[in-house]
């Protein structure tokens, strides 16, 4: 056996100083030579643990082998047979806790950079091969499935069902398809042209996409089922922003991360006034929260021209739920992390504009039910951070619209819809659900995995 090569090939990135001023993609992707060099490190071990680590079961060693052999069309075919959205996953999947964490070389702290290779294959297809080749579709089954929501769960379910010959219509509330991939994740982390390209691929499989369609306000789920649809998949995500619930939270200049990111990403407020939607840019911006959405918000604020951007997080650095890579990116760009800090209230002026945030210093106590040490207020530790903009990134829960207009669904006290983990089936006849609407806010790939599981079960039901 050849000697193990433990030198992961680094992916070029824009320099921190430069990228902090633009919305172009931070990571620049591998060249063909770099991709082949990284692919050559794969030992093609017979255990294929990486596949186990992938929520959609991509045959990872096979597409890596194809890269190695220079057979890019084959790499594309292998990848896309399991994953309709590789350009997206290659960029935003937390590979370090999934496929790369189960890679045999992870034990040597040098797992194959599967995400970067996946991204490379997707980009190769988009830029070199021209229009994505669509797989041969089977004879139509004559069955119709309504997919509600066009985020990662809905797109994956729709693509799989279309490949199985079912007639699929996606209903999307916004004016573009892609859900959180379009409104939430910024251009510099996931270019919208790439999302659009993968949405177009799903549409090329024969999936109809109805935009501007708010299910529950237009047709309800029951009306869809009585108007020709044989099954419904709910993939409406977790779109309802959580706030702290403080009375001072309605000051001008305090945004939910959803609003801030929607203005910036979906409505392209960073191009105002060329685009019509404005966004406020403070000089001193505090982002509350420690997840990927908080990192995205902070880095957007920086790019929009804020002088100072804080991340205010109540636990310490090790508990940050964001991907390590994004935390490092944010730190490199100059985001000021204030750990063990928690807002007590917001201060405002007579015009109702936020001027400051009174915070507590926190300390870590005993572990809580999440296993992380519980942050505890240090009494008498209050201090004020001067800010003129605050972005609240404390998470999201499912929009109640579907549950409130669909009798027979079972929901939890968190507003999530109850569905069988193995099948995605809800307790309501002919209705499946998957992604954040079931789990609460999670990752793109876990939503895709849920879309896959549900589409397989819907197929069994439709053919049964």
């Amino acid at each position: 056996m050849a000697k193990l090569n433990l030198n992961r090939v680094e992916m070029p990135r824009q320099a921190p100083k430069e990228r902090a001023k633009n919305f172009n993609e931070v990571a620049l992707g591998y060249s063909l030579e770099q991709a082949v060099e990284e692919a050559n490190r794969c030992i093609q071990c017979p255990k294929r643990n990486c596949v186990e680590g992938c929520p959609v079961g991509v045959d990872i060693p096979d597409f890596i082998k194809a890269i190695r052999e220079g057979d890019m069309p084959e790499a594309v075919r292998v990848l896309k047979s399991k994953n309709a959205l590789p350009g997206i996953c290659g960029r935003v999947c937390p590979q370090e806790s999934q496929c790369e964490s189960t890679c045999t070389l992870a034990k040597k702290e040098a797992p194959i950079a599967i995400g970067r290779l996946e991204r490379f294959v997707a980009d190769w297809e988009r830029t070199t091969a021209g229009a994505a080749k669509k797989p041969k579709l089977p004879k139509p089954t004559g069955k119709r499935v309504a997919v509600v929501g066009s985020g990662p769960a809905g797109l994956t379910a729709a693509a799989d069902l279309a490949k199985l010959g079912h007639g699929v219509t996606i209903f999307e509330a916004l004016h573009v398809a892609g859900g959180v991939l379009m409104y939430g994740i910024p251009e510099f982390r996931l270019p919208k042209a790439i999302v659009q390209n993968e949405v177009d691929y799903v549409a090329s499989l024969g999936v109809k996409i109805e935009l501007d369609s708010v299910v529950g306000k237009l047709a309800t789920i029951d009306e869809l089922l009585s108007n020709g649809f044989d099954a419904v998949f709910l993939g409406t995500g977790a779109g309802l922003p959580m706030f702290l619930g403080y009375p001072s939270e309605n000051l001008n200049g305090i945004y939910s991360a959803n609003e801030f990111l929607t203005r910036v990403n979906l409505m392209k407020a960073y191009l105002f006034p060329n685009y019509d939607t404005p966004v406020k840019v403070g000089k001193q911006v505090a982002v509350i929260g420690g997840g990927n959405v908080a990192m995205d918000s902070a880095r957007c604020a920086l790019r929009l021209g804020a002088d100072k951007v804080y991340i205010v997080y109540r636990r310490s650095e090790v508990e940050l739920p964001a991907r390590r890579e994004e935390v490092e990116n944010a730190m490199e760009e100059g985001i000021d992390f204030r750990f063990l800090t928690n807002p007590k209230k917001f201060l405002g002026n007579e015009q109702n504009w936020v001027t400051g945030m009174e915070c507590y210093q926190m300390e870590l106590g005993e572990p809580d039910e999440s296993g992380r040490r519980r942050p505890v207020v240090k009494e008498g530790s209050e201090f004020v951070i001067d800010v003129d903009e605050v972005i609240v990134a404390l998470g999201t829960s499912p929009n109640p619209l579907i549950a409130s207009t669909t009798p027979g669904l079972d929901t939890t006290r968190h507003g999530t819809v109850v569905a069988n983990e193995e099948t995605g089936k809800t307790v309501k006849d002919k209705v499946w659900a998957g992604g954040d609407i079931v789990t609460g806010a999670a990752t793109v790939i876990s939503a895709m995995g849920a879309g896959k599981v549900a589409s397989a079960d819907i197929d069994r039901f439709l053919k049964g």
Binding site: L174, A219, P241, T277
Partner: protein
């Protein structure tokens, strides 16, 4: 794309569009709104539904030119299309037999009040409508509202038509004059709705207002439209737009409407430069 089938200038700066939107028309109810985006670079703005025709598959909107987007919208005409027309959003106005209902419409508020008055009348209420505008040339839909009302009072600020003064004066007289009023519905500028609510408060008559804060998605996703009602934060897009006017924090509502004043002004001026009147 949603085609504009008919356009009508109602009064200077206020326009009516009848838009082909069959799916929305099928579900629309009085008090709901649509979110409109003119084109790919456009912003999403909420506009209250003024009327709809399920058979014809159309929805009517009435809007006032107040900034760049509405000015741009006003330049479109019959045959043109709007990129996005999403709805019907928000909760419909509560319609039941209350008894006597006073509908107060201020300025462009005449449009959303019209279907509400009509539905209230259909539900068996005695409907008294107070229609107010700054002056005669800004008054519209007197006929439409009249046909939905048992009694009609018109006011103009300058006295150029109807009674001189603001809508709260006849409202107060009705309440003080012993007329048994079971509910008031007030729709118009924020300051008008606020003073209607203040007028009815001592008489303890439930007063519903339709709030129109700044919105982005209009489906509960962003929280831009948050208002405080009875000390609780609500999203006007999904919890409203109708709220109990006695419970609304009007100062907050007014303050939050001013968030983008600077940007709105800048965009409007830019637009005016390239489109001289």
């Amino acid at each position: 794309m949603y085609k504009i089938l008919a356009k009508k200038g109602l009064v200077p700066q206020i326009h009516l569009f009848r838009v082909a939107a069959p799916a929305v028309a099928k579900k629309a109810r009085a008090g709901q709104f649509v979110v409109v985006r003119i084109d790919q670079k456009g912003e999403r703005i909420p506009l209250t539904i003024a009327d709809w025709d399920e058979k014809e598959g159309t929805v009517t909107i009435v809007f006032m030119e107040v900034g760049a987007t509405t000015a741009r919208l006003a330049r479109l005409g019959a045959g043109d299309s709007i990129a996005d027309f999403v709805g019907p959003l928000g909760l419909p106005t509560e319609i039941e037999k209350f008894g006597t209902v006073v509908c107060v419409a201020g300025g462009v508020g005449a449009a959303p009040v019209a279907p509400i008055a009509r539905e209230l009348k259909k539900a068996g209420n005695r409907v008294i409508t107070i229609l107010g505008a700054r002056s005669r040339e800004l008054l519209f839909w007197e006929d439409v509202l009249k046909s939905a009302s048992d009694k009609m009072i018109v006011t103009t600020d300058d006295g150029s038509y109807g009674r001189k003064g603001v809508v709260t004066e006849p409202l107060k007289e009705l309440l003080a004059g012993g007329e048994k009023v079971d509910r008031v519905i007030a729709i118009g500028p924020v300051v008008m709705m606020k003073f209607c609510a203040l007028t009815t408060l001592p008489f303890k008559v439930k007063t519903m207002v339709s709030l129109n804060p700044i919105m982005v998605d209009g489906t509960g996703m962003c929280g831009c439209c948050r208002v405080a009602v009875g000390g609780e934060t609500k999203f006007a897009c999904v919890d409203g737009p109708d709220f109990d006017g006695h419970q609304v924090d009007w100062d907050l509502m007014a303050a939050r409407q001013r968030i983008y004043l600077g940007e709105e002004k800048c965009a409007y001026e830019e637009w005016r430069k390239s489109h001289p009147a």
